[in-house]
Structures are given as structure tokens and as C-alpha cells.
């Protein structure tokens, strides 16, 4: 009798299809969200700052990083972001795995040609093919990577140290249209319901499949699942709208804003706003 073991082969390596990888990705996204909530509850430096101030301050620092023409200033901003992460009890190992490595690989791949293509002073040659690496090319690549790493670190610090609902309220109190904030809030709320639905559909499918489906069948299953999820999303959307109407919704969302700003928060804001102001003022 031949035993079929779905999803794995005899060499011990787990082979996963598109659907399994999709579900694992969804579950992974949920675990990231759980981790973010746990970090946001820690008694760190940024966790105690008024979310509105934090949002403006970190956006100002990101603007500073993108505006500067000095690698030294960029390095200082990156070091500052790392210091903020440490003071806010955000794990450096997680930052390096979740942000720095990914950004380095992504932006690094994009800027690799620049180190050869930007004309300038040659500083080295690639063995065998003899292409020249220019100082200006390396400098351009360093700017792109440095800016991306700094901006991504600061953005992640915002979402890791601030509960998502507070980010939404901060956006609202800073003048972002309420409808846009409400849509963002509901997306965050229902993405977990849909992740759960997708996971359950996958598990139900897996529990009834006797042998690994071929590629055509897997594609058909993926399309069916996407269609089902879309139908569920539409039905859920309609039900939620009905529930909103039942509680008095008439097209305008009102939010309860209960933030408190301390003197230290204002200090952080002025410090952060000074960075892009000084950089732009100096023109470097």
C-alpha cells in the first residue's frame, strides 16, 4: 500500500504550494501585529509620548533624512533612530531582521548598477570584467541605502511603539479626513477577520484533500478561494454598514480624542522639527 503524505516529501524537506505559503504569510502577518501590540505596551521612551507629537516628530526626522546631502548627518540620524529604538525597548535583533536586512537587499539590488554607471573617480575595478567602481557611484548608493534604512527604522518605530488605534486618532486630530481614518481603522479591524476566514478555508480544504493536487487544480483552488474571500468581504462590508446605520451613522464618523501632551512631548517635537529645518536652512 502506498501512503501519501501531502505537503512533504521523503527527503524530509517540507514542500509548500502557493496556497500554503499564502496562509503562512497571513498567519505571519497576524503574529507581527501581535508583536507590535506587545511592544507598544512596554514602558519605553516613545511609548509614553503623545501619539500626535510622535507622528509629527518622526515624520519630521524622516523628512530630514531624505533632505540631507551629508552622509555624516544621515549617519547621525540613523544612530539617533537606533538610540530611540533602544530607549523604547524595541529589539535590535528584530529591527535588523525585519527592517535593515530587507531594506538593504531591496534598495541594494536597485542601486548596485549605480556604483558602476555614475561617472566619477574610479576607486576599484571588478576582477575579470574590469568594470570601474566610482567614488560618486558608491556615494549615491550609500545615500539611497542610508535614507531608506533611516526612514524605514523611524516608520517602524512609530507603528511599533504606538497602538494602531492611536495612530489613527493622531492622524484624525492632525486633520487627515475622518472618512480616510475610518477606512484605515476598518481595514485594520477586518483584515484579521478575513485572515481567520482564509486560514479556516485552507484548513477545511486540506482536511478533505486525499492526494496532492496538480498545478492546474491548485490554481483553480486559489482562484476559488480568492473569489470566496471577495464574496465574504462584500457580505461583511454590507453587514457592517447596516450595523453602523443601526447605531446612528449618517455618513460622518465622529471619534473620541483623549490624548494628553506633556512638556517633554513638546520638547521632542521642537527637537525633531529642528532637524529638517536646520538641514534645509544649511542647504546641505
Amino acid at each position: 500500500m502506498v501512503e501519501a503524505s501531502y505537503g512533504s516529501c521523503t527527503c524530509g524537506k517540507v514542500r509548500r504550494g502557493v496556497l500554503d505559503r499564502l496562509v503562512l504569510g497571513l498567519v505571519d502577518a497576524e503574529s507581527h501585529a501581535l508583536h507590535a501590540e506587545e511592544v507598544a505596551a512596554r514602558p519605553g521612551l516613545l511609548q509614553g509620548v503623545d501619539p500626535r507629537i510622535k507622528l509629527v516628530a518622526l515624520v519630521a526626522l524622516i523628512l530630514g533624512a531624505t533632505a540631507t546631502q551629508s552622509l555624516l548627518v544621515l549617519a547621525m540620524l540613523f544612530a539617533g533612530a537606533v538610540a530611540l529604538a533602544v530607549a523604547s525597548m524595541v529589539g535590535i535583533r528584530r529591527l535588523s531582521r525585519q527592517v535593515w536586512l530587507g531594506v538593504l537587499l531591496f534598495s541594494g539590488t536597485i542601486v548596485v548598477p549605480a556604483i558602476f554607471l555614475v561617472p566619477g573617480t574610479p576607486i576599484a575595478h571588478v576582477p575579470v570584467i574590469g568594470w570601474a567602481i566610482t567614488l560618486q557611484g558608491v556615494r549615491s548608493a550609500a545615500f539611497v541605502i542610508g535614507r531608506s534604512e533611516t526612514a524605514a527604522t523611524l516608520a517602524l518605530l512609530l507603528v511599533l511603539t504606538t497602538p494602531w488605534p492611536h495612530v489613527l486618532k493622531a492622524l484624525s486630530s492632525l486633520g487627515v479626513p475622518t472618512a480616510a481614518v475610518a477606512i484605515l481603522g476598518m481595514t485594520y479591524r477586518y483584515v484579521f477577520v478575513l485572515i481567520q476566514a482564509a486560514t479556516q478555508m485552507m484548513e477545511a480544504r486540506r482536511s478533505r484533500v486525499m492526494a496532492p493536487p496538480d498545478a492546474r487544480e491548485r490554481r483553480r483552488m486559489l482562484m476559488t478561494m480568492i473569489g470566496m474571500l471577495l464574496a465574504k468581504t462584500l457580505a461583511l462590508g454590507s453587514e457592517v454598514h447596516t450595523a453602523m446605520i443601526a447605531r446612528g451613522y449618517r455618513g460622518e464618523v465622529r471619534l473620541l480624542d483623549d490624548f494628553r501632551t506633556r512638556p517633554a512631548d513638546w520638547l521632542l517635537l521642537f527637537g525633531a522639527l529642528a532637524v529638517p529645518a536646520v538641514i534645509m536652512g544649511l542647504g546641505t
Binding site: 485594520y188 447596516t242 450595523a243 451613522y249 473620541l256
Partner: protein
């Protein structure tokens, strides 16, 4: 004589060509506690949604608090506001009901939509958190709550505006026994001085605690309407409307102990 909360006369409603309500007539007075009983698909949820002006009669007339329950009437902002202030519906699926990012926002939603000022909203939230024992989850997003907590928050999010009429759709659905007992206790303790409570359910165990009158629906029609205890003891009616069923079993697998029970709601009764 008590004023009328709802008056339905020969109401019909269909989802496309599938009839959901067919010639439904009844009247509910203010302050009554009524259970809408019926098997799945009997029309309970549709009727409840119609009572909350979320869908409207295709034929017949329906009024709530002496005002017509029509789409045209609800288009008027003032009528809609007055109605929403007085009538609250707790949906069966708490994932539909709880659409805000946190429990606090959920509780604040209704009062803010009704134009309450913020200090009053904050006071009301604090009171509801204590009353429903949900203070420890106030900053949590709804997807991190247990089934029982979701139901509590859903109930609190509607009761915070102190509606005169409370509509509940299957409040005990998908709850474990402890959460179910807890919720029924909350509903039974709920100060009902003057509050009309209409509960759609097929869970007969809870009816005696939460209702004095029962309306039984079957295939979109009213099969019975009367005191809850009388309905609960009408075995033939309950069997005919699929609210109870006969279950035969034996003890220890011995054929001589084989016997039947009627299940759901009124405790085992020898068949």
C-alpha cells in the same frame, strides 16, 4: 393603557424571490419582554431587522413608536435620529457589530453619532465598562476578545445610549455554557423599568429568564403568540415548529433501557 412599541399588520418581505415574512401581524406594548422563537430560517432575524428599520415591509404596514417604519420616513434625518436614539439592536455576529479599532471606540461610537458631548460620552463609557466588567479589555481591539467578551462589549455598545427598546438577535449563539449563563444573567438583571426587550432566539433554555411573552415564527408566519410559559409547555407546537426534537438512546448500550427524550429548552420529557 401602555403605549405601543411596534404594530405590524399583514407584513410581507422577500429576499429577491425567496419569501422571508408572509402576512405577519402582531403588536408589542412598551415595557414588554418578548421572545421571538423559531428554527433557523423562520424569519426571526429579518423581523428583528425590520423592527430596527434596516429593511422595510414590501406589503402591509409596520409602525414603531407610533411612527411608520418605511424607507421614506427614515430618509428624514430628524426621524432617523429620533428612532436610533430610542431603539438599539445587538447583532447576532459580534464581528459585524464591533467595527471599531478598540473597545473604548466601540462604546463611544453610538453616543458620538447621536451628538453627545465628549465629557458625557466619557462618563457613560466608564459606567458601562464597570457595569459589564470589561474594564480590563477597554484598550483591546475586538479581534483579541473571547466570544463571551465580544458579546458583552456588543451589548454594552448598544445599551450605552440607553435605548427604550432593545432588540437582541440570538444573544447566546456560539457561546460556551459559562459565557451563556453570564450573558443571560446580565440580560435578566438588566434594569427593565419601562424598557422593551425583544429577543430573537431558538435557545428555549433562556426564554423564561428574559421574556414574559413569546411569538413563535415558522416559515415566515406567526405560528403562536402568548405567555412564554404557555408556549414553552406546548410540546406539540414546539415539535411542529422544529424547536424541539425527539432523541432516542439507551444507557450502557442495554436495549432494555432504550427510551426517548424531547430536547431543547424545557428539560427532558418522556416521549
Amino acid at each position: 393603557m401602555m403605549a405601543t412599541a411596534f404594530e405590524f399588520k399583514d407584513v410581507t418581505f422577500a429576499y429577491r424571490s425567496h419569501p422571508a415574512l408572509n402576512g405577519v401581524s402582531f403588536s408589542i406594548r412598551l415595557g414588554e419582554r418578548v421572545a421571538l422563537l423559531g428554527a433557523n430560517g423562520s424569519g426571526k432575524s429579518t423581523l428583528l431587522r425590520m423592527m430596527d428599520a434596516l429593511c422595510f415591509a414590501a406589503e402591509g404596514t409596520a409602525t414603531a413608536l407610533s411612527a411608520p417604519l418605511t424607507e421614506a420616513a427614515m430618509q428624514d434625518d430628524r426621524t432617523n435620529f429620533a428612532f436610533r436614539r430610542r431603539v438599539g439592536l445587538v447583532f447576532q455576529n459580534p464581528d459585524v457589530q464591533l467595527f471599531n479599532p478598540t473597545v473604548m471606540d466601540e462604546l463611544a461610537f453610538g453616543p458620538l453619532q447621536l451628538g453627545w458631548d465628549k465629557p458625557k460620552v466619557r462618563d457613560a463609557i466608564a459606567a458601562m465598562l464597570a457595569r459589564f466588567n470589561i474594564e480590563q479589555v477597554k484598550d483591546r481591539p475586538p479581534h483579541r476578545l473571547s466570544g463571551g467578551e465580544k458579546k458583552r462589549v456588543a451589548l454594552a455598545s448598544v445599551l450605552i445610549t440607553e435605548p427604550e427598546i432593545l432588540l437582541l438577535d440570538e444573544p447566546t449563539a456560539a457561546l460556551d455554557p459559562a459565557s451563556r449563563a453570564d450573558l443571560v444573567g446580565l440580560l435578566a438583571r438588566e434594569p427593565v423599568a419601562g424598557r422593551t426587550v425583544v429577543t430573537a432566539t431558538h435557545d428555549l433554555d433562556i426564554v423564561e429568564d428574559i421574556a414574559d411573552r413569546a411569538i413563535v415564527l415558522s416559515e415566515g408566519r406567526i405560528a403562536a403568540d402568548g405567555p412564554a410559559l404557555d408556549i414553552l409547555h406546548d410540546i406539540e407546537l414546539l415539535r411542529r415548529t422544529h424547536l424541539i426534537f425527539e432523541h432516542r438512546h439507551s444507557h450502557g448500550g442495554h436495549p432494555s433501557t432504550a427510551h426517548g427524550h424531547l430536547h431543547s429548552g424545557i428539560g427532558p420529557a418522556e416521549a
